[in-house]
Symmetry: C2
Subunit: 328 residues, 2 copies
DNA sequence: ATGAAAGCGCTAACAT
DNA sequence: ATGTTAGCGCTTTCAT
């Protein structure tokens, strides 16, 4: 079924059918409108979006490139993106890059061929290189920073990591901790650096010394959390630990358990992210929630603004929230 | 940049450019081939896939409709699908239905307009209704059963749930359990029914009576697991529980903990699915792993067979695997 | 070894 | 209020 066949069946031109289908029927008589709609219904006609896209040069499709949907952070982000896109009549193509530049580039090529209207891209490590050479496709970077191209339309969504870390550490202090450790990542990117700054600021404000043997920086993994807690415990004493993300917190808790240290009575643990499993841990994790779903939503809102030519260099910083549970 | 511009720059026809770009260059002289390729490279030309799709009536795109990417089961499935699709030059459009028929239908309409070459659809509950009226688009159902249409191309991927449940229960028996409970869902679908059958078969084989007060059927949730374990504990005694999925197992463990029952010494717990969090629980969950990622892969293989007209009613049953960890 | 031209299904400017 | 028509960028048949 094509618009042409519908037109024949209705004894009208394709133009008329097109107008009716697309609601541009101001000047169409009620009679023909009804007649056409009826035939469309009867024949189960579905417009060919490909042909339409070719003509109007819009696909109402966006691409999202994330490292891995199986990672809870990114699946939530993807859900936020998908919901927001669907609500606005957009369809989303999902790409998993595993943080590999080669995969990213391959996907970007594919998305360009598919003529997506825009791309949302994210990565935990903020690459410095400029691997993304995209012609005129609007781009939104989530939690990521790359050098701006000449005059590409770019948007950025980030989270106030410094404030989040500050709130976490402050919370420990307010709950009586004075010997506060930190376990986080040693990545050289802004989110990681900001989490350290927030931790230090909170200690400074309360006149607590920053001691290097209470700080362990490695990776955002359970293993690093475990290693970090063991090392800190061996070298010094703590009554609270701020963990750079929830996985680290889970690892740290495991290490403390092995030493029969009670949480939160003896040592309080606070994480960052609020991934889904955190609430099911034992004890349930107190943590700093990142508005992940909302980041997804905001990134499509921003992307669509860019697509519709409203601005060309947008930026938005979202705030975190302390979620109080059992570990601190 | 279009193929036409490239043709002009190279002083050849669009037909020649098209042939070179698509590798159909058997009869093209090396000289012109090189000339064209060089210009393509210089100009950074990217073919317009939309125009191509309109012409060849293939989009190299498939749609996947799942309830929710944030659910670990489905994110893993989506990853399997995406990887397998990418490997074969296909792009995937992701849709979250929340198990709502209205959303499914809306997405199916969208996917039809986008002229996807095929659709993969899945749901935890096997609907009996025939909501899916898709014209000629090949369809693969994952873990789901709907009545076959007239002569639609359909594939089905399922897991041998009965055998999985049998293995789980058998394992408990082999490890000394004689009073074995079951907590699962009361959904009226094949996977759920099969899990019950597998449990009963294992008990039968070992001449253990099936006792209704050791069985609790509700939902596939942590809460149901918690409720189920409490109820069973109140009414009877058990030394092992087969849980219909891992969430239930997590809830059951919580209930046992509250009664200071040691796992696995006093009661052994085995789950089903092997979702990601299971390995991080305390104790780590012994469970029956479903080959979720593989289901995703198999479903695109099957879908592409259908698209390429190899068969029109395919079926594949995958097997489960016992993962031994700390809870049983 | 290369090119001319039709046509995929649609939209929209313009004509009537 | 409705119709004519060009053209979006590409592939492919058929000619040469």
């Amino acid at each position: 079924m094509t618009i042409k066949k519908i037109a024949q069946l209705a004894n009208v031109s394709t133009a008329t059918v097109s107008k009716v289908i697309n609601g541009k029927d101001k000047y169409i008589s009620e009679a023909t409108k009804l007649k056409i709609l009826k035939i469309v219904e009867q024949e189960g006609y579905v417009p060919n979006g490909i042909a339409k896209s070719l003509k109007i040069k819009k696909t109402k499709t966006i691409g999202i490139i994330i490292p891995d949907v199986m990672n809870l952070f990114f699946s939530e982000l993807a859900r936020g993106v998908e919901d927001a896109a669907e609500k606005r009549g957009y369809t989303v193509i999902l790409c998993n890059s595993d943080n590999k530049e080669s995969k990213e580039e391959k996907y970007i090529q594919m998305l360009q061929e598919k003529k997506v209207d825009g791309i949302i891209i994210t990565a935990p490590e903020n690459r410095t290189h400029q691997s993304i050479k995209i012609q005129d496709i609007p781009l939104v970077l989530v939690d990521r920073d790359i050098g701006t191209q000449t005059d590409q339309k770019i948007g950025r969504i980030t989270v106030d990591n410094r404030d989040g870390a500050y709130k976490a550490t402050k919370y420990l202090i307010e709950n009586g901790c004075r010997e506060i450790g930190m376990i986080s990542s040693n990545y050289k990117n802004k989110p990681s650096a900001d989490r350290i700054k927030g931790y230090e600021k909170a200690l400074d404000e309360s006149n607590i010394n920053i001691e290097q043997n209470k700080i362990f920086l490695e990776n955002y993994t359970i293993e690093s959390g475990y290693n970090g807690a063991k090392k800190i415990l061996k070298e010094t004493e703590v009554d609270g630990i701020f963990c750079g993300n929830d996985l680290i917190a889970i690892g740290a808790i495991k290490a403390l358990r092995e030493k029969d240290i009670r949480i939160p009575e003896q040592v309080k643990i606070i994480g960052f992210d609020d991934i889904q499993i955190s609430q099911y841990m034992d004890p349930p994790l107190t943590t700093i929630r990142q508005p992940i779903y909302q980041m997804g939503e905001e990134s499509v809102k921003m992307l669509i603004s860019l697509i519709k030519n409203k601005g060309k260099n947008l930026e938005k910083v979202l705030q975190t929230k302390l979620i109080q549970r059992g570990s601190a």
